[in-house]
């Protein structure tokens, strides 16, 4: 059996890369929202799927929008973006949206922006290219998300906890980047070559 777990060093490098990627995403999001927005230094961690499921458990009582987008290439997987109802309302307010469909579209746009900026930057750092599929949105309760068996296809999950702060409003969301097990081997090799350069 192959080892899909990342070592501590590999995790450190990945987190560092994510920090850089997130920085570039911040600028794009601010641009998209056409407002001065600051993004807190994100809390980035790499966890296992079981840990992911227990994270969902904690979110159980709240109402969330849940959008996913898959990306393909040497580095392939899926990103899942969670945004709570209140934050979604704040986003709608900020973008002066008129109806629910526009809000859904805006959430998908935000998902796309975050996913593509993060993965593009990450793949650039690792010298590869990815293509993106259309994102899709579902409004499901956290209890049924836990039953979504497709999460079991992934053993490693990169979690980015993010806050978008506007002058008067906050938008809070969580992004989970789920890497396919086939990509993990490739990722480990890439991370290790970066590690060697650093040492």
């Amino acid at each position: 059996m192959l080892n899909y777990e990342l070592t501590e060093d590999e995790r450190d490098v990945l987190q560092e890369l994510m920090n850089v990627a997130y920085g570039s995403a911040t600028a794009v999001v601010a641009d998209m929202l056409d407002a001065f927005a600051s993004l807190n230094i994100p809390n980035i961690s790499v966890i296992t799927t079981n840990e992911l499921l227990s994270t969902f458990d904690e979110l159980k009582n709240e109402s969330y929008f849940f959008a996913t987008q898959s990306f393909n290439g040497e580095f392939s997987g899926e990103s899942a973006f969670f945004i709570d109802q209140e934050s979604a309302n704040n986003l709608a307010h900020h973008l002066e949206l008129e109806n629910e469909e526009d809000l859904d579209d805006a959430i998908l746009e935000l998902t796309n922006v975050l996913t593509s900026s993060l993965t593009t930057k990450l793949s650039q750092e690792m010298d590869t290219e990815v293509t993106f599929s259309l994102p899709s949105l579902s409004k499901v309760s956290m209890t049924s998300i836990q039953e979504t068996t497709t999460f079991q296809h992934y053993s490693q999950v990169i979690v980015i906890d993010t806050d978008l702060n506007f002058q008067d409003q906050k938008i809070h969301g969580k992004i989970f980047i789920l890497t396919k097990d086939e990509s993990i081997q490739w990722l480990k090799t890439k991370l290790n070559s970066i590690l060697e350069l650093l040492i």
């Binding site: 641009d31 998209m32 469909e101 579209d105 998908l108 746009e109 900026s117 993106f132 899709s136 949105l137």
Partner: protein, 515 residues
């Protein structure tokens, strides 16, 4: 070499051009201010607009679109250098294109996924690629509708299941007699916990009182996968005896394979208890009838016995006076012999008539009443009661003869008893009968003083009697039971002033069947 490169470049351009023209997607090239740079053939065909007519025009001038959102998406795509999107599921469509497909009846406009791809960074151009997702959207809509229907059906089903569980006594077992399900209602009745029942063998789990014969029948119904109705009794966990009327039904899966059995039960414990107490009442009423028979025989015998006594006394006197001759001895013996035969016949008659033999026959109503009067003649004579029978000789009835006779005697006896201890002039009992289309009506009327309304309400109840002595209170109750249950007729009693009238309504021809 350079020429080769140029040629290759031209060839690539040519391929790209052909693909763009013929691909099954709409392609528009735009700049950030929505000015149109290219509009492919697919879009020309679908929208009915020529590229030449709209080049260098703004997209939001040509089509009604939300330009703010589109501009934002274009800006983001250019800034990010990765695609941005519209999805059909949330945004429906960007370019309004009327569709004329019968299959996609849910939508008036083509549903579109749109990818906005950064095309020329320098000039700030993007390419919009439209994909027709109408069929998919249509399928999704149908799916959504069906899911909704299924959800509703499911919730109805769950509610019904809940009701069944709470109200219906039902038990399921699989082909190897293992109990797989039992309703809450049955558990509550039996005072068992679900865990105690599930997994147990149906044939042995409950403490059954089943006859060997019933067990055999049940097992063979199970083996032959037949529907089987039966009565069973079992003990609850608390030791109460519970009677069930049960129906065994084989159960099949949706694919038609046999998966087990369901037993529907009806709690008939109360009805059983009632029937048992009714049987007790009937038994005691039979012994009451026996007592009455003895009393009637005694009445009947008094006169012939005194006749024998007189003959004996006469013989004795004649002997003492030495006047006894052979002739008178023979005559006396003959009289005694006749009288004893009469006494013996009386017993036979009573026994025959009082035995509920359920003999089904056609009888003449008039002669039946004449018979009944015969049993009561003595008593009526003693109390100076006149009686008359106004029954046409033509009325015939097919019924249980003895049971009807018993009832009639009971009713007339009741009238006679009412006359006792009363000084009434012209004591009369009249019996009338009339053949109607649907039934035969028999009226037994007396002028023995009438019955109060309160009493009338209770006359057919068991153990009700106005007679302080001798009354068992079962006579009219018996009549009621016999007439309504065995003879399938009706009996009612009315009273006005001094008169009481009992009305019997009986079918012309009793159809034998279940009792």
């Amino acid at each position: 070499m350079a020429q080769n490169k140029t040629q290759q470049h031209i060839r690539t351009l040519d391929i790209a051009k052909k693909i763009v023209a013929n691909i099954d997607n709409g392609i528009i090239v735009l700049n950030e201010d929505l000015y149109i740079y290219h509009y492919n053939k697919w879009l020309e065909h679908h929208s009915g607009l020529k590229e030449s007519d709209i080049l260098d025009k703004k997209l939001d001038d040509v089509f009604k679109i939300n330009s703010k959102t589109l501009k934002r998406k274009i800006k983001t795509a250019l800034r990010l250098q990765t695609p941005t999107f519209y999805t059909a599921s949330t945004s429906k469509y960007l370019i309004p294109i009327k569709i004329n497909q019968i299959k996609n009846a849910n939508f008036e406009y083509m549903q579109q996924d749109v990818s906005i791809i950064p095309f020329d960074e320098e000039k700030g151009l993007v390419a919009l690629i439209l994909t027709d997702q109408t069929i998919m959207a249509n399928t999704n809509t149908l799916l959504e509708e069906n899911i909704q229907t299924i959800k509703e059906l499911n919730s109805n089903l769950l509610k019904e299941r809940e009701t069944i569980d709470k109200k219906v006594l039902v038990l399921k077992f699989d082909s190897s007699f293992r109990i797989v399900d039992i309703s809450q209602a049955l558990l509550e009745l039996l005072h068992y916990e679900k865990e105690e029942m599930i997994g147990g063998n149906f044939l042995f789990h409950e403490k059954y009182h089943m006859t060997q014969e019933l067990q055999m029948k049940l097992v063979s119904a199970i083996q032959e996968l037949k529907v089987f109705e039966f009565e069973e009794n079992t003990l609850s966990a608390h030791g109460y005896e519970i009677y069930f009327k049960s129906t065994l039904v084989p159960q099949y899966s949706a694919k038609g394979t046999h998966i087990g059995f369901i037993i529907f039960r009806e709690n008939i414990t109360d009805a059983k208890h009632l029937a048992q107490s009714q049987e007790k009442i009937l038994a005691s009423s039979r012994s009451a009838a026996m007592g009455e028979m003895v009393a009637m025989i005694a009445h009947q015998w008094r006169q012939p016995l005194s006749l024998i006594n007189t003959i004996m006394a006469t013989l004795k006197i004649k002997k003492e006076l030495n006047q006894l001759q052979d002739d008178s001895i023979n005559e006396a013996f003959k009289k005694i012999q006749n009288t004893t035969t009469y006494l013996s016949d009386t017993i036979d008659d009573f026994r025959d008539y009082f035995k509920p033999n359920k003999k089904y026959s056609e009888v003449n109503l008039l002669s039946l009443f004449e018979n009944s009067i015969f049993f009561l003649k003595e008593e009526m004579h003693q109390y100076s009661i006149n009686y008359s029978l106004e029954i046409p000789d033509s009325i015939m009835i097919v019924t249980y003869k003895n049971e009807l006779l018993q009832s009639i005697i009971n009713i007339i006896k009741n009238s006679i008893d009412a006359f006792k201890d009363k000084t009434i002039k012209n004591k009369t009992i009249i019996v009338k009968a009339e053949s109607k289309e649907s039934h035969i009506a028999i009226i037994i009327k007396d002028n023995a003083g009438g019955i109060s309304k309160e009493t009338l309400k209770k006359v057919f109840e068991p153990y009700f009697s106005t007679k302080s002595k001798n009354g068992t209170g079962l006579g009219l109750y018996m009549c009621h039971t016999i007439v309504t249950q065995h003879l399938k007729g009706q009996i009612t009693m009315h009273s006005k002033d001094d008169e009481t009238q009992t009305l019997l309504e009986l079918p012309h021809k009793l159809i034998k069947g279940k009792q």
